[in-house]
């Protein structure tokens, strides 16, 4: 409006000028332009999506009552978090689906099967008949390993080299802690214990499903299955885990089975499994039988499925980490098993099927040598080794048998050629044609002259004298390994002695120990065992089987 603001009298009744209108419009425009934050808030689309959350239903021990109860846990994005025990008698949780959720994910795992125990065992006789025995006894404790060693590099050789090792194609009780025949490694002295075990159960099944929505009038009833229990029924097979179920309940209607996660099977008690348990003295890294056999319980992997931690730390699962896992099988427990090196010697006639033995090309070894330990001379510094010495005062004497071939005869004497030791095959076929290899060799040839009288009346012979030519009378490790020979005129065979007399011998023992592979404490067998002796009979110690873990349900939205 034109004119001075002070000139009130000079009023003109005229319209606004264009400039005035423009100024007003500019002001209004600036005001409106400043409005967007306000107007945007006003027109923002309301987000009606329900916050994310989870509902869990699981079995857990109530620390107040000490009893296992069913628990529920609710956690939502808005911070609401409730964990509630449902009471000792509750068998299910109830979940009312939230409205406006854009999806539901349900995860369920069945109860795990229990491990089997050693209870009874069926013995298949191989002829179509089966015996059932009460297997109270576990595998016999084998407190030592039949590790065998002797020094082949000693000088002079303490052992006649006609000795050769023979391994029967059976089940020997140990390996040989040596490298070839030249080195004995005391570090390899170990104990192998054959342990009997039973199989674990199988884990509960995991079932997951996605749903875009759930009806508004439905309530879910969740039944987490319990884990299987250890049982003596069915040859000690573990109990099966229970199925985990999700039931739908519509208003006023009967429950409908909506989802089932089957429970795991119990370990089978029929398989009489054995596993070799290596025990090297001291803290051992060999306690890995659980990973090498079906002993340890199986993991269900449920916790890997259920998104244990979501956006907020508060929404961490309460479901036990072992939900649906199966239980371990029972395992024999070997305690303080010692490893020893010893040498066992037996005759041909008494060798057991599973025994390792030494034999030579000679036949009918009759002497026995036991507890002879040969090792390197510098082993005296090895721990746990006890020195023994075999010298000329305490020799190990072996009687050996040779064979003889007739050479010549006349009216008063018979002459035989005899051989003893590792006789070459050429000599065996025609001993008279092979020269005597000499005293240092592995075998010895003798000439034996026998005086006799012939009685024509009854056509019989009377032997009056036996002369074994050049027969040594004493053992000499470098010159005469076969001595004190005798000739048996009834069998026409020669027998000599040989011996070990200068070996340095160590009996090495390494302490071993054992733990339960399934992480449980070993315990004594029940008193049903006839060999139970106040829990001190190690043979009866066992790592117990464990039951299966309970199932669970997790619902996410």
């Amino acid at each position: 409006m034109f004119g001075s603001f002070c000139n009130y009298k000079n009023k003109k009744n005229t319209a606004y000028t264009l400039a005035e209108v423009l100024v007003v419009m500019s002001v209004i425009m600036l005001i409106i332009l400043a409005l967007p934050p306000v107007t945007k808030k006003v027109f923002k689309i309301k987000d009606t999506r329900k916050a994310h959350g989870r509902y869990e239903c699981y079995w857990k021990v109530n620390e107040t009552t000490g009893k296992k109860e069913l628990w529920s846990y609710t956690a939502e994005e808005n911070g609401r978090e409730i964990e509630t025990p449902l009471g000792a008698s509750a068998t299910y949780c109830e979940f009312k689906p939230t409205s406006n959720s854009i999806y539901f994910i349900m995860h369920a795992v069945g109860g795990g099967g229990a491990g089997a125990i050693v209870y009874t065992r069926e013995i298949d006789n191989g002829d179509g008949t089966i015996d059932t025995v009460n297997v109270s006894d576990l595998e016999d404790k084998q407190p030592y390993v039949q590790a065998i060693s002797y020094l082949m590099t000693s000088n002079p050789m303490p052992w006649p080299n006609w000795a050769t090792w023979v391994d029967k194609v059976t089940l020997p009780k140990s390996s040989i802690p040596w490298d070839g025949k030249s080195r004995f490694d005391v570090g390899s002295v170990d104990t192998k214990q054959i342990l009997r075990y039973r199989s674990s159960g199988s884990a509960g099944n995991i079932v997951s499903t996605f749903l875009p929505q759930l009806p508004g009038n439905v309530t879910l009833r969740l039944y987490p299955g319990k884990g299987g229990e250890i049982s003596k029924a069915n040859n000690g097979s573990g109990g099966d885990g229970e199925d985990t179920k999700i039931m739908y309940i519509y208003d006023g209607e009967a429950p409908i089975e909506g989802l089932v996660a089957k429970g795991g099977k119990g370990g089978n008690g029929d398989i009489d499994s054995r596993i070799s348990y290596s025990l090297v003295g001291g803290p051992s890294t060999d306690f890995e039988i659980s990973s090498k056999a079906s002993i340890a319980g199986k993991k269900s992997g449920f916790n890997d499925v259920i998104e244990s931690v979501e956006k907020y730390d508060m929404v961490q699962t309460k479901v036990p980490s072992n939900a649906g896992d199966s239980g371990s099988g029972e395992t024999q427990y070997a305690k303080e098993t010692d490893g020893q090196v010893y040498y066992e010697y037996d005759d041909n006639n008494g060798i057991g099927f599973n025994d390792r033995r030494i034999e030579s090309d000679w036949k009918n070894i009759t002497d026995k040598i036991k507890e002879a330990f040969f090792t390197r001379s510098n082993f005296s510094t090895e721990p746990n080794c006890e020195l023994k010495t075999i010298d000329s005062s305490t020799p190990i004497i072996v009687k050996r048998e040779g064979f003889c071939d007739w050479l010549t005869s006349d009216y008063t004497t018979l002459t035989y050629t005899c051989a003893i030791g590792k006789v070459p095959s050429a000599a065996i076929s025609n001993i008279n044609s092979v020269a005597d290899p000499g005293p240092e060799a592995d075998w010895k040839k003798f000439t034996v002259v026998i005086d006799y009288i012939y009685n024509a009346a009854n056509n019989s012979f009377t032997y009056t004298n036996v002369d074994i030519k050049n027969a040594p009378t004493a053992y000499n490790p470098t010159n005469a390994k076969f001595y004190n020979c005798n000739f048996d005129t009834s069998l026409m065979k020669i027998y000599c002695y040989t011996q070990i007399s200068n070996g340095k011998v160590y009996k090495c023992t390494k302490k071993g120990s054992s733990i339960c592979s399934n992480g449980l404490e070993p315990k004594s067998r029940s008193k049903e065992s006839t060999n139970y002796t106040n829990g001190t009979n190690e043979k009866q110690m066992k790592c117990p089987a464990s039951g299966g873990s309970d199932g669970a349900v997790v619902i996410l939205w």
Binding site: T14, A15, T17, L18, V21, L22, M25, M29, I32, L33, L35, P36, T39, K40, V42, F43, I105, E122, D124, G126, D127, I130, D167, V169, T170, L171, P172, K173, S175, I176, K192, S199, V207, S208, T209, F210, L211, P212, Q213, P215, M247, Y248, I256, E257, G258, L259, V260, G267, N268, D270, I271, S273, R274, I275, S276, S278, K292, A293, S294, F353
Partner: protein, 373 residues
């Protein structure tokens, strides 16, 4: 401003130029306001509603498909599309499949599939088909669905059949989902590698020349029995053994160098356990010097491998626990059928009992697929 003489009176008014200026400013103003004044939120279009697609065989063995959106349905239709499936011999067999074209507005798909249920036997019921539920945020243009057929029940000499696998493929013939068929109850002789519940090495050879100080183990991997054991003192090997393979005519394939199931190498321990003695050195070792059984064999020229000979040399003894247990006498419903029932669908897929394992002396039901969005 201009002065116009109208009716002999002088009148003042805006000039045309002034009016243009005002209109221009107003136009600019309105243009700026456009981003300031919020639009009214659009109504959700009906096409974004949830929906489902069903694919199943009816009781007459006809393949049906049907799509539902909120408030409408395409109606039940017989599947007419055929695509090729490769058979074991490499040939192609054309089979009718359900054809599903996802709605363009679908933000995601949930595909629930179940394999065909197995057939029952006089021993009892068989297991249901495998249930697989998968969430897809990326949607293919097209899906082809072949529900697995249900297994037939045991009749006479014909053993009960396992259910067939349900397959879901995309438009490029890539397999998206595989849901295995259920397993029929087997006698020990009719078991397959899938029936192995547990394997255990119960005894083994620890002769020096065969003992590498590692405990033998066994497990089932990829349809084979994988055994690891000391082959020599310095060799720990892993070998895969064929449990039992059958030719297309049902006879047992005997090409396996070590037979897990036959009358020589394996014998039954009881109704659900095989005992297997590995005597592989007879076939594997040409070098007699490495064959610890040479002497044994030399002294017994007529000897052949026989598990009843307790002196038969064996590298290890393995026991296989087989699943021969019936799952009760009643039919075993599948989880997909449970979902259909619990969501109170009234469509015909409910009557198909998809994936149900047959009860005692009953056939199994064919598998099916339910797609949700």
């Amino acid at each position: 401003m201009v002065i116009i003489k109208m009716n002999n009176k002088l009148k003042r008014g805006f000039s045309l130029f002034e009016a243009f200026v005002v209109m221009l400013i107003v136009a600019i103003f309105v243009a700026l306001m456009a981003n300031t004044v919020a639009h009214r939120p659009k109504e959700k279009v009906a096409s974004e509603a949830h929906g489902r697609f069903e694919c199943y065989y009816d009781s007459n063995g006809k393949l049906y498909q049907q799509m539902y959106t909120e408030g409408s349905t395409t109606g039940r239709k017989l599947a007419t599309k055929e695509i090729g499936f490769e058979k074991e011999d490499g040939s192609i067999e054309m089979k009718k499949v359900c054809e599903f074209v996802p709605p363009s507005y679908a933000k995601y798909l949930i595909i629930d599939a179940v394999g065909g249920g197995a057939g029952g036997s006089p021993k009892g019921g068989a297991s249901e088909g495998q249930f697989v539920s998968t969430f897809y945020a990326s949607i293919e243009r097209k899906y082809y669905i072949l529900p697995g057929q249900g297994g037939k029940r045991e009749t006479g000499a014909n053993a009960a059949e396992n259910g067939e696998t349900t397959l879901v493929k995309n438009q490029d013939n890539d397999v998206m989902i595989t849901a295995n068929g259920g397993k029929a109850v087997s006698s020990l002789e009719n078991t397959t590698v899938n029936d192995i519940l547990d394997c255990s090495i119960t005894e083994w050879c620890t002769l020096e020349q065969f003992d590498c100080q590692i405990t033998p183990t066994c497990r089932v991997v990829d349809g084979k029995i994988e055994v690891s054991y000391c082959r020599t003192k310095g060799t720990y090997i892993t070998q895969k053994l064929t449990y039992k393979s059958e030719k297309s005519d049902g006879t047992v394939e005997m090409g396996n160098p070590r037979f897990i199931v036959n009358n020589v190498y394996t014998k039954p321990k009881n109704a659900n356990t095989w005992v297997y003695h590995d005597i592989s050195q007879f076939s594997d070792y040409d070098d007699v010097s490495l064959d610890p059984t040479a002497t044994y064999k030399a002294n017994r020229p007529d000897w052949t491998p026989n598990v009843y000979d307790i002196y038969a040399p064996s590298m290890y003894t393995m026991e296989l626990l087989m699943n021969t247990t019936a799952e009760g006498d009643d039919p075993n419903p599948s989880n997909l059928h449970r979902i259909i029932e619990s969501l109170q669908y009234t469509s015909k897929i409910k009557d198909a009992n998809v994936g149900q394992g047959g009860g005692k002396n009953q056939n199994g039901s064919a598998g099916g697929v339910l797609i949700l969005w």
